[in-house]
């Protein structure tokens, strides 16, 4: 895979740079302050697991990082580009070029071949048919599904579907892969396979991965843990070989 264009930013500059990010939802009279000033950096090549109970703001965080939602306050710089003030269309283009999504429910387009699914982001990017087919084939081969390119999602197992989704995410060379509970719908053996694939992509290709999960055994595959609670970061630390499921289940005792 070719070296990604990083613009003017040096390779050491963070891919994700969040500064004092606020998100407020208004439903009628009620205001929900989902993020209350979050600051966080993710460097190139990191593999971050985002954890936290429901309502902690981790889903909101993931929508913001994924450029699906706009901030109420603060700044977000993704791969050297300030996305905090972008329009809907600019956000769409940014998602297209910078982010590869992997969802819990796979989210492949139904009754559409695996190859066409992987090609789709590049269709929106305006890549020529010959080039996008070649890149999609390479990506499918990368996830070990070269023979399944003409299969429809309903002809594939859950694990295979998630691998197609992974191929779709990496085919357009994004700055980050954003995975939202990618193993939530899979049995533990397949989940292990998929997580192994994430690890391999991170290790061998240096792809930056942000993984949202509430399962410690999944988070264990990452190299860094960011835990959310009540719209703020509660814990942010490296995951070491000494960590296990139990140590990830609850935040470490904070001194003072």
């Amino acid at each position: 895979m070719p070296e990604r264009e990083t613009g003017s930013s040096a390779s050491t500059a963070p891919v994700i740079q969040l500064r004092g990010v606020h998100k407020i939802y208004r439903t009628g009279e009620i205001e929900v302050h989902a993020l209350q000033g979050v600051s966080m950096d993710v460097k190139r090549g990191e593999f971050v697991a985002v954890m936290g109970p429901s309502g902690s703001g981790k889903s909101t965080m993931m929508n913001i990082i994924g450029c699906l939602d706009r901030l109420s306050g603060g700044t977000y710089i993704l791969d050297g580009i300030d996305v905090s003030t972008m329009s809907r269309n600019e956000l769409a283009d940014t998602r297209n070029q910078k982010i590869g999504f992997v969802f819990q429910a796979f989210n492949l387009i139904p009754r559409t071949s695996a190859l066409a699914n992987v090609e789709l982001p590049m269709v929106y990017a305006g890549v020529s048919p010959a080039e996008r087919t070649a890149r999609a084939r390479a990506a499918l081969e990368g996830v070990g599904l070269a023979e399944k390119e003409h299969s429809f999602p309903n002809q594939l197992s859950g694990g295979q579907q998630q691998r197609v989704a992974l191929a779709r995410a990496i085919a357009s060379n994004p700055a980050i892969i954003l995975a939202d509970e990618p193993t939530g719908a899979l049995d533990s053996k397949t989940a292990e396979e998929i997580m192994g694939m994430f690890q391999k992509l991170n290790r061998e290709r240096g792809i930056t991965i942000v993984l949202v999960t509430h399962e410690p055994d999944v988070a264990l595959h990452a190299k860094r843990l960011v835990r959310f609670k009540d719209g703020l970061i509660q814990e942010d630390r490296a995951i070491t070989p000494q960590d296990d499921i139990m140590t990830l289940l609850h935040p470490l005792e904070v001194h003072s």
């Binding site: 769409a92 283009d93 297209n96 387009i109 929106y124 990017a125």
Partner: protein, 408 residues
């Protein structure tokens, strides 16, 4: 995003749900074919009327003798109904400024005999202006002259049907035929006109000088004029010519104000225009009714597209998440409805043409397919696709990606 990719995507999406696509399209097919068939039907009728008008000659008026209800046929009429005279013809020629040409018409019928062939037909006696007034042409030979009329020569110009039946393809001009046991020289054959709208053979007629008809073919002592055919100087002049002729003849026939006329002036242009207007209104009416079905088809498209947007909410969310702009989603859905309508329109055009031809055949009319109706109906079907597809497409494009992704 490339334009072609949007089309491909739309076609792919339509292909996923073939039955739904076909049923939705059916509404447009019916609408378009109905518009074409109805308008073609109406325009076919209009064309018939126009042909009839052309058959009567341009700017033609007819003065009918005999109290306005004398049909002037070959049957013997009472003398009291023979109100038109040669003096009337001269007076109209000289005194009515809006009149261009005038011919008296004396009618008769007879058995035409040549060798062992014979044929029963009508004879119209006229002067030398007949061809020009009626807009007819000579195919072979010549028409008779003013001198022939003056001298009541026994010459005859045959319609194609008579010529074909008597001479069986051999040369007619120069031959002598017998009508009511008198020899007549064939001096010309008329160019064929075909059938009139009511199925009458317009070529089954012979023309000769009216003087000849009066002297040789009618038994009446008084020279009979069944009617006077007049051509006005222009289309606008026909109304004035009618009034002037009426006024002149009332005076000449000494009819006091308030008394009914013993003649009737028919402005054929007026009649034709009225008939044409009627068929035009009919065409419009039929077309409008058919257009309603196209409208209903369009509403069907909108309905299905709205259902489709709801059904595919999650798909729209996925597309947006992986980087589709709202406008691409809008274009895709719009392309789906436009392609649906255009495809339906194309099939509708073919069905409509087939239907028009079938109807024309059943009615025994000359088949006529309105190219305007076909192109307008097709364009309208495409416009229907845009118009009724826009709202669902816009709705799809306005979805929030987060909400759409969460949709079950």
């Amino acid at each position: 995003m490339r334009f072609l990719d949007i089309q491909k995507m739309a076609v792919h999406a339509l292909g996923k749900n073939k039955i739904q696509t076909a049923l939705t399209m059916l509404g447009i097919v019916i609408g378009v074919s109905a518009v074409i068939a109805m308008v073609s039907l109406g325009q076919g009728a209009q064309k018939l009327v126009q042909d009839q008008v052309a058959g009567m000659g341009t700017n033609v008026l007819q003065v009918q003798g005999g109290g306005g209800w004398n049909s002037g046929g070959g049957a013997r009429q009472g003398n009291d109904q023979q109100s038109l005279t040669e003096g009337d013809v001269d007076a109209i020629t000289k005194e009515v400024p809006t009149v261009k040409l005038v011919t008296p018409i004396a009618q008769a019928q007879g058995q035409f005999v040549f060798g062992n062939q014979n044929w029963q037909s009508r004879v119209e006696g006229s002067n030398e202006h007949y061809l020009e007034i009626r807009g007819l042409k000579i195919d072979q030979g010549d028409f008779f002259t003013a001198l022939d009329v003056q001298t009541a020569r026994r010459v005859v110009v045959l319609g194609k049907t008579i010529a074909d039946n008597l001479f069986q393809g051999s040369e007619a001009v120069g031959q002598t035929i017998r009508i009511r046991n008198l020899p007549y020289q064939v001096i010309g054959v008329l160019a064929p006109k075909g059938q009139s709208a009511n199925g009458q053979d317009q070529d089954d007629i012979a023309i000769m000088p009216y003087t000849t008809v009066q002297k040789k073919m009618t038994n009446s002592a008084i020279p009979r004029i069944n009617r006077i055919t007049v051509s006005a100087i222009g289309a606008q002049a026909t109304g004035a010519a009618k009034d002037q002729i009426t006024e002149l003849l009332r005076e000449r026939h000494s009819i006091r104000p308030g008394q009914p006329e013993d003649f009737r002036v028919n402005n054929l242009t007026e009649v034709a225009e009225a008939a044409e207007a009627t068929t035009r209104v009919m065409t419009l009416l039929l077309g409008s009714i058919a257009a309603v079905s196209l409208l209903v088809g369009g509403i069907g498209i909108m309905n299905i597209m709205l259902v489709s947007v709801t059904e595919r909410t999650r798909e729209i969310g996925i597309r947006m998440a992986i980087g589709s702009r709202g406008s691409y989603i809008r274009m895709q859905f719009l392309a789906e409805s436009v392609i649906l309508c255009m495809l339906g329109g194309m099939i509708g055009v073919l069905v409509g043409i087939g239907l028009s031809l079938a109807i024309a055949r059943v009615m025994g009319w000359p088949s006529f397919v309105s190219p305007q109706a076909a192109s307008i109906a097709f364009a309208f079907s495409a416009a229907t696709g845009v118009f009724f597809g826009y709202y669902p497409a816009h709705k799809a494009a306005s979805l929030d990606p987060i909400e759409a992704l969460r949709y079950e």
